[in-house]
Amino acid sequence: MSPKKERAPAPKTAKEGEGLLQGKFFFNGDEACAEGAIAAGCRFFAGYPITPQSEIAERMAARLPQLGGTFMQMEDELSSLATALGASWGGQKAMTATSGPGFSLMMENIGLGMMTETPCVIVDIQRAGPSTGLPTAVSQGDVMQARWGSHGDYGVIAYAPCSPQEMYEHTIKAFRAAERFRMPVFVLGDEKVGHMRERVELNQAEVEQAVRREPTVPPEEYLPYEPEEDLVPSMASAGEGYRTHVTGLTHNERGYPQLDEETQQKLVQRLIEKVEKNKDEIIELEERETDEAEALIVSYGIAARTAFGALSLARQRGIKAGLLRLVTVWPFPEKRLRELSERVEKIVVPELNMGQISLEVERVVAGRAEVEGVTKAGGSLHRPEEIVEAIEGAS
């Protein structure tokens, strides 16, 4: 085998590139998301137009060429994600963005990305489904799909931004997590967060770049699926001389197909555990007034934005309420929720679906407190009163 080739010049990093943005901007969440990707070092986008995601693609189409990057509008979402995965193996930080119907189409290659441990960021600007549903209206109906959508078992990391500023920040975090854990990572936005326009502070030149863990051994000793202590393997890109074989089939540490039960068990177990065992590093939560709380609101994404209002309203009415906001929805913060559930009597879970995360909350709380979903099939946001009424129903 030949020695490791000089690495092809990396795409311009944010620090040395021109055209990076600094300061305050009046952006919608989709635009902020695109800028977050750019800040994290993403220079490859492949997507297919779909409401309410299109502004991400449009912004990337305008911005990436300025930065020496590549924008591809593909023929569908199947190819959008496949292209992003190919680009990732080509050494790029790659991203795709879509909404419900397109997210459904991506499930196939999400499996490929998970199985081949290919870093990339998948943004889902959720809209109300099933099927075409309400294309221009808000929903959080894809949360469980993001967790379980592709066939087979694997660990998942998903962020749930609740403002344009967070669309920017979470996209950066998603890129870092994708490269750090060598896997596709989700940003679960929604139509409201995607389209609402707010002040967004950008610091693209200063953002810490997402870094890929490169092999430290020569090609002849390199095993592309040999995990390090944190269960994450290093990754060699195409053309670097490592001559990696990548397959969606069950494979051994060398990356070669090995179709037996033992290899399957070991591989799938690790795909789950590399998220589970690094949970403390991944999970991000925001707590408001949980210390003395008797009732707890558990929410995430845009629904949590309404829950902030509900929390103030409840406190005004003399209810000792607290809020646990899941900044990362997956992996699920079982430990913290369990602790909080020991102390509260009731937990309400406002979400813009018919009760997805509330099932997860019920599982974790396991009867220690009463759990009630505040559900909505999508189309509009909760009113803070609805959430407070749900809390009051208990006390």
Binding site: T70, S80, G90, G239, R243, G248, Y256
Partner: protein, 288 residues
């Protein structure tokens, strides 16, 4: 050099190294392959390796992407960076790889069901965009790995496990499809015509733009058996009898429509002089 001396030299080399002359393109420890006796995939893969060698490609200048199916396993036997992707998505995966690393020579090696059934949309769009890829389609007229179902290239009337009364659908004419979708290089050979096939693959590899080589290949286990075509050797004999080489022919003449096809047209149908491929177009539009 006479053919005899050439053969002698090859034998000598073999003896000296104890390995196949194209061994360097194959992954150590991955052989034997999974393909059936009489299958044409080995010959096609050999031609691809020969073309790599003849065109002077080093392993690190190459990447091969496959989809799913018997042909999809080819990537796993090659010593280049190689990718065995999802069913039908080899072309978009290769598109991402090529655009991320434009200096890599990226080949897609996959089957007719993969590239034109589930992946048909990606094929026509990559051709339309003139992405600088070499796409080699091993056409064995059926879905072999899943047990011999009819596919997008199965001739009318042919038997398969899902067309027990004969296939009622009209098949694609792949060279015509590729040409009309925008490919800049289109050729068809069979696994019998190994020299011509190797040269065609070599030309396709060197071509800037979307190049397409269709390889007609026997599938005695799944297709030949159900259509009274005999074993692999007899299927090759069938190709020898039916093949007519017509370089430069209108690809519309290349249809393989029925079981009782009178002739099968082979050759190089299209070799467009200069049409900028995708990475070049994208750069030019930015004025750099």
């Amino acid at each position: 050099m006479s053919v005899k001396t050439k053969k002698k030299n090859v034998r000598r080399r073999f003896k000296r190294r104890g390995t196949h002359p194209l061994q360097k393109y194959l992954r150590e420890g991955r052989l034997p392959h999974i393909w059936c006796p009489g299958c044409g995939l080995g010959s096609a893969l050999n031609c691809l390796c020969q073309a790599f060698s003849d065109e002077g490609f080093g392993l690190d200048e190459l990447a091969v992407v496959s989809g799913i199916g018997c042909s999809g396993r080819a990537a796993g036997y090659l010593a280049t960076d190689s990718y065995h992707t999802t069913h039908g998505r080899a072309i978009p995966f290769a598109t991402g790889l090529k655009l991320a690393q434009p200096e890599l020579n990226v080949t897609v090696f996959s089957g007719d069901g993969d590239l034109f059934g589930i992946g048909g949309n990606h094929f026509i769009h990559a051709a339309r965009r003139n992405i600088d890829l070499t796409v080699i389609c091993i056409n064995n007229y059926n879905f072999g790995m899943t047990g011999g179902q009819f596919g997008p290239t199965t001739p009318q009337g042919a038997n398969s496990t899902t067309s027990p009364y004969g296939n009622r659908e009209r098949p694609f004419n792949l060279p015509a499809l590729a040409s009309s979708a925008g490919a800049v290089y289109v050729a068809r050979w069979t696994t019998l015509h190994v020299r011509a096939l190797k040269e065609a693959i070599g030309e396709a590899l060197r071509k800037d733009g979307f190049s397409f080589v269709e390889v007609l290949s026997p599938c005695p286990t799944s297709y030949g058996r159900r259509n009274e075509m005999g074993d692999g050797r007899e299927e090759l004999r069938y190709y020898r009898e039916k093949s007519v080489i017509k370089d430069g022919a209108d690809p519309r003449e290349a249809a393989i429509e029925s079981e009782n096809q009178e002739e099968i047209v082979l050759g190089k149908f299209l070799d467009e002089e200069e049409r900028p491929s995708y990475p070049r177009v994208a750069k030019a539009s930015l004025g750099s």
